[in-house]
Symmetry: C2
Subunit: 457 residues, 2 copies
């Protein structure tokens, strides 16, 4: 029974029924042309053929009920696969709307700490004939980027490959795929998940924090505690809403080129426009601009140390500006300023900035505090680049890959994006009570992209 690193155990100690700390992903697959109507059963049977299980999928907390102190990991020899891997179906008429409704519920339920901390749901019944797979895993075991990378390793870029293994296969057993090449792996490392940043922050020695504040003396930077209070910055309940949609990467790239910014700038501008409309509809748009916390990983050249490579920047979403072009410029400048400061820092300094920017996330452990404190940021927006080519699992083409992440007390909405092939996938995870009609943000994201496109047409 090895003791857990503090960075792992924090996610178990801080977890309550109301704040489950697991990351999830919803994947959509087009079945191969030559398959029958029992495609879900075929997919499930192929998954279940993978009987060797890596240790991440076998570890569970040694004291499942402990709320304080060090925890140990136990490695289970036997896995109750029927429990962990579940066949599900959608009520008719089964559109993506119904898929998102059940995914919201699955993402709300805490994992059973008496078992290895993961679940996979294989979902049939979408009337468009696609198969859905929702996977979740506890954050004490893996972060969002790690989960995405692991999921991708189980896929292949070859539509004819039929030797793909389930995600729980030990690494050497997984099918070889281009995504595990060094180049693509480092692409995945560029930007990391929100919860990953929080994970780094909790392990910072307090004495270093004072030193970190010097790094923030640049006046161009968004500083902590400058965010307005919004309806998104409240105590959250345990239930979630999940919404997801795919955009053409081509459209986003072209908008970026025309506007003189990056793909990530366009993603932030889409989020900004959508949140502006969403809050306006509720007479809840603050005068001051919304601030987004964006987890980033910026490594020094050749730095192989994974531990110190995560930080968080604060981006000004410029939601106070009605003009989309002005908004885009303000967002781009704010991100560039943050990145340029970060690029001049040592890895340790970057981590300290991240700690200061992300620290309020830790207040989740103090119930009620967030309703009174000034928020450091209003929303978490994370952009995790995925594979550059279309991916397959034993002939099933991955057609959507939506991260389901972790809203925290005080920050009721998390937007995480990932790309694959020619698509950009948005996953929105919100507290069910505090973020009503979350799915409307999807149409507002499209409207915001159209606005950007029209402003340079």
């Amino acid at each position: 029974m090895p003791f857990m690193p503090v960075s792992d155990s924090m996610f178990l100690i801080g977890e309550t029924r109301e704040h489950p700390f697991h990351v999830g992903g919803l994947q959509l697959f087009k079945p191969p042309a030559d398959i029958g109507r029992d495609y879900a059963e075929v997919f499930y049977e192929q998954l279940m053929a993978t009987t060797e299980v890596s240790s991440d999928f076998r570890k569970r907390p040694g004291q499942p009920l402990a709320v304080m102190g060090n925890l140990t990991w136990i490695i289970d020899d036997e896995i109750d696969f029927e429990y962990h891997v579940r066949r599900e179906a959608l009520p008719s008429p089964a559109r993506v709307r119904e898929l998102l409704a059940v995914t919201s519920r699955w993402h709300s339920a805490p994992l059973d700490r008496h078992r290895p901390l993961w679940e996979m749901h294989v979902v049939e019944g979408l009337s468009d004939g696609r198969l859905a797979v929702y996977t979740k895993m506890h954050h004490a075991v893996i972060d969002g980027v790690g989960a995405l990378r692991m999921m991708m390793r189980s896929l292949s870029d070859d539509p004819d490959a039929r030797d793909c293994q389930a995600v729980w296969a030990p690494a050497k057993k997984r099918a070889k795929s281009s995504i595990v090449s060094t180049t693509n792996t480092s692409a995945l490392d560029l930007v990391r998940g929100a919860a990953g940043a929080v994970k780094q922050i909790v392990s910072i020695p307090p004495g270093l924090l004072k030193y970190g504040r010097h790094a923030l003396s640049d006046p161009q930077l968004v500083r902590p505690l400058s965010a307005p209070h919004t309806m998104l910055n409240v105590s959250i309940g345990g239930a979630r809403r999940f919404a997801a949609q795919t955009w053409s990467m081509e459209r986003i790239k072209e908008a970026g080129k025309a506007l003189g910014g990056t793909v990530n700038d366009v993603v932030l501008a889409m989020c900004s426009g959508a949140l502006r409309t969403y809050l306006e509809e509720r007479n809840a748009l603050p005068d001051k601009p919304l601030i987004a916390m964006c987890p980033v990983s910026i490594r020094a050249e050749g730095d192989q140390n994974a531990g110190n490579s995560v930080t968080a920047l604060l981006a000004n979403l410029a939601t106070d500006k009605p003009d989309p072009l002005e908004r885009f410029s303000a967002i781009r400048d704010s991100v560039q300023a943050a990145k340029s400061v970060l690029s001049e820092m040592t890895p340790a300094q970057r981590m300290l900035v991240g700690a200061l920017n992300g620290a309020p996330a830790l207040s989740a452990a103090v119930p009620g505090l967030v309703d009174r404190a000034t928020p450091a940021f209003n929303v978490i927006i994370s952009n995790v680049p995925g594979p550059r080519t279309d991916m397959f699992w034993n002939g099933f083409e991955m057609d959507g890959c939506y991260p389901a992440s972790i809203p925290i007390d005080g920050v009721a909405l998390n937007i995480t994006c990932t790309s694959s092939g020619s698509s950009m996938h948005f996953g929105l995870t919100g507290c069910r009570t505090s973020v009503p009609h979350l799915q409307r943000i999807l149409s507002h994201l499209e409207e915001a992209l159209v606005q950007l496109e029209e402003s340079v047409a």
Copy 2:
């Protein structure tokens, strides 16, 4: 914000992720002949037309996170129906087996304490064309009998009635049905749910317990702490397995008549035979007979006081006897002895016996204790008579009605039965880890009934 009675709040304070304290029920319905393939949608829409909500379906804990002390009830004005009432579907091929697998998972998940403490799942996709409805409600709000009674009040004995309301309608709004007549209501009161007994027990003034011990000096009675330790008497995890099946009431009645016993004696003898086979298969049958805790309600004539009417008797299941006839006699004698002692008592004395018989259930609050302590009983077996006629909901004929109940720490299996029309429905709820292959007990129940039938043929 009224303070909760201690008997309600105990069920919230004692609840952990591992021991959710909710009662549930799985109902099967045959759609009316003239309905289309969208029968589930029709059923759901008719449910949702009931917008008035009784206070039991609107109350939630005032301090959802409190683990100690008095709790208050808050009555919500607004209900998020889309959250509480869920459309679900089964993966294909959808047999009852698949229905029981998903019901097991739904019954494992704790209710969200930030909302009124109930959920309803409307389930389509059974290949035999039946519709399933799984309902759950927190035990702090209602006990198993109350839940069954409430469910029955929403039904009608008239197949042509189309004015049935959802179960959450205030009582006066519900469709009139024979089940609410005085006669049928008192039939429901004859035997009450296991958790109901526990509820009474926790409110007994400690000084009275000494007096209650005198009631146990009769040597014919099964006394507490005489049960053997078995594989069923261990600490339990949070996940459940649920298995259910219907038997013909005619068969059970005829067996009872031929054997000189009651319907309830046959039910206990079926359970005894099934548990004997189940434990034998695992080389885990103890030499001493298994003891069942059977919650009962025996009121003094004309006693209208609901509070003091619940007790629990301990039945000798005679699992040490290989001969089914000898086993039946021993069970019947043991129940008769317990009932005859109870019939000579005042209601207060009966309650005290129940307290002594059921008290170990409370040790669930002390983790780990059950693995060392001698069990007072090995299994909970509850038999709740239901309506005597077939029942309908807006033309949907109820074809099955299976109680999903509460296993507790130290007692990993709960068998609850209920009748309707000419059927006897068994619902088995077990800890997923401690009671492997729970569904096999269903075939053992049938084998045990055949054994009884053959022994008198």
